[in-house]
Symmetry: C2
Subunit: 346 residues, 2 copies
DNA sequence: GCACGCGGCGAGAGCGCTCTCGCCGCCGGG
DNA sequence: CCCGGCGGCGAGAGCGCTCTCGCCGCGTGC
């Protein structure tokens, strides 16, 4: 216990094994060129001394850190209100640890934080970055790109019409929306409304686009903007009912808004799904299961999304330190499939 | 763009300012002993070159990393099912960044992960650790303590009867439970039941103790064990109703179980709060607000808990690198107050 | 006016590692 | 049997920083 024993160095291991530092280094890093009996002796010495390489010293020369930053913009809002974020982190974490990388978490809320993050990234503490930036006016992506670090974005970035080489992974928001609306039509519903999410986020825009794909020229009175909160869903539902009392289905941009809509419908005495069928998006547990009735919704693989982001980034990191814009191999954007989960609300 | 410009070193700044490395170092690290005009010249050189210290090189000599590990055990279960975790992280993050420390997130699920974490901590990559370990048989705390790193635990650790010097911060689970039950009694309820959380977690045990404090020798038939999930709450509520159909109130160990209980009560045709009053714990949003009726519950300051944990740890780190068991100043355990939030369920 | 003290600054060592280079011993071919 | 080649290993430099130490120049006291 006393004074924390000074950690053994490469030198110490070398001395104990009766070899040079270089040889120990070779063994520890698994490079070949060391004959078996010697290697074995080194390994024993490592065990006996409980040697663990000093990462700082190693980074100093290799310029690798085996660490990536995960940057989450605006934890204030939706991101932190639901388990979304935690699931994604979990996926990322799994993938990173499987490749012996550390996860450095950076939560940002205001401009000041952005400067800090930019400085941190420029400081070269990490090898790459995974970024979640939701809003359209967020300066963060720009800062990050200019830091020149390999980066993968979560969700389709705003400035990316589609294929300009910005690495990202997204959920098939548009396809999922289409599926949700088609399901409602398949139920025989004809006057399907949509409550959008906050339209400064691409996920909301894409879901709205999916709705329009299927409804082809819907009555504008059947679309109402929300902001992904339950309260906004409730308010939007009321507005919708006021404008189109005859509506018989609603597709909400997420489960939280669907829950709000459910409440508004109940207040107005509409039965779900008999009078109005409701479909959500996300399959956010436990919300989706706890509503009355349980929510039919579009499930996305959050954890898988996290894993994939990490995997993409690690791949870039492996292929040489310089991921020049040009020679990116593989698709720059990946879209994950979704599945419709049928419960009782539609 | 081309090849990422080789980052400027101390040497470069020194050359530009026409001083020695030592002087630049002094200025950069804010130590005094450099006269103003010179210091100013150095600062200009730093700006012009966009110099950012190389953390690896610095750590190599200082043995500080300005980084703290946050270790979350078993993200599988409850931790990840609710926004609890994210809130706590947010508090931690705020406090850490305010002190220029990085947050390294370690998520663990199985034994193998534990070994990895132990190795990581022993590897001296971080200056301290913040640990969330829920379950009684978790080997993690032991591993961490033996790594000899300054550590603060989230929640009361199992092996700690109270005051044996293990740094931790906890919510006033017992006090909150008492308050909840007293509230029910104040409403005139007399046959108050309790649905416990998973009793291998101290929070569940403490809440049960609080219940007992007030109910003084309650009918054992009025206590049913759950596991913090909504499903368990529903099941427990049914069992309780079967045994004591005359019960007129229930205190659930958390909001999720309260939501489950609400559902069971509704199924059995009991009105809430008229027939049976319900109180939860956590004030987990958006659950607590979305139930029917909205839940009266005990709110804890999750984010504050995170902040406090970080603050405690940073304090330990500042007072010399060796936080010998003995000379810990200040209380080893801190308990955060809770408040009862009255909504409609009780 | 001279010695002494003190504060500002520079020189240099060294943190623990990686990696290049060159040496040495072993093999095969002429 | 000698020489060239090659693979295994050690020596040493150097990554970018901090920090101790000592030098130098100035101000002060007698």
């Amino acid at each position: 216990m006393s004074e924390s024993a000074p950690r053994p160095t490469l030198e110490a291991v070398a001395a104990r094994a009766g070899v040079s530092r270089a040889t120990v280094s070779r063994v520890v890093n698994g490079s070949d060129g060391v004959r078996e009996p010697l290697a074995e002796r080194v390994r024993r010495a490592v065990d006996e001394l409980g040697y663990v390489p000093n990462q700082a010293a190693r980074s100093l020369v290799t310029r690798r850190h085996d660490a990536v930053a995960v940057i989450v913009a605006e934890p204030e809002t939706r991101v932190f209100a639901d388990p979304f974020f935690a699931r994604q982190l979990r996926g990322i974490s799994k993938e990173l640890t499987a490749h012996d990388n550390q996860l450095v978490l950076l939560l940002t809320e205001d401009r000041e934080d952005h400067a800090r993050v930019a400085r941190y990234l420029a400081g070269g503490h990490v090898d790459g970055a995974l970024v979640f930036s939701l809003h359209i006016d967020d300066p963060l992506p720009g800062l990050i790109r200019s830091a020149g670090l390999p980066t993968v974005f979560g969700g389709r970035p705003h400035w990316n019409g589609g294929e300009d080489g910005v690495r990202h992974v997204d959920t098939d928001n548009r396809g999922g929306a289409r599926e949700a609306v088609r399901h409602l039509l398949g139920l025989g519903r004809r006057r399907v409304a949509h409550i959008t999410g906050a339209l400064d986020q691409t996920s909301a825009v894409d879901r709205l686009d999916g709705f329009r794909d299927v409804m082809a020229d819907p009555d504008p009175a059947l679309v109402e903007e929300g902001d992904f909160t339950a309260a906004s869903g409730e308010r939007a539902m009321r507005a919708l009912l006021a404008r189109r009392p005859d509506l018989d289905a609603v597709f909400a941009g997420n489960d939280l808004m669907a829950a709000g809509a459910l409440r508004a419908l109940r207040d107005q005495g509409r039965r779900v799904p008999d009078d109005v069928a409701v479909v959500g998006f996300d399959d956010m547990l436990p919300i989706a299961e706890q509503t009355e009735p349980p929510l039919t919704t579009v499930r996305q693989d959050i954890e898988g999304m996290g894993r994939l982001m990490a995997r993409l980034l690690l791949r870039d990191l492996d292929r040489g330190t310089a991921p020049a814009e040009s020679d990116v191999a593989g698709p720059s954007g990946v879209v994950l499939p979704v599945t419709l989960v049928r419960r009782d609300s539609a």
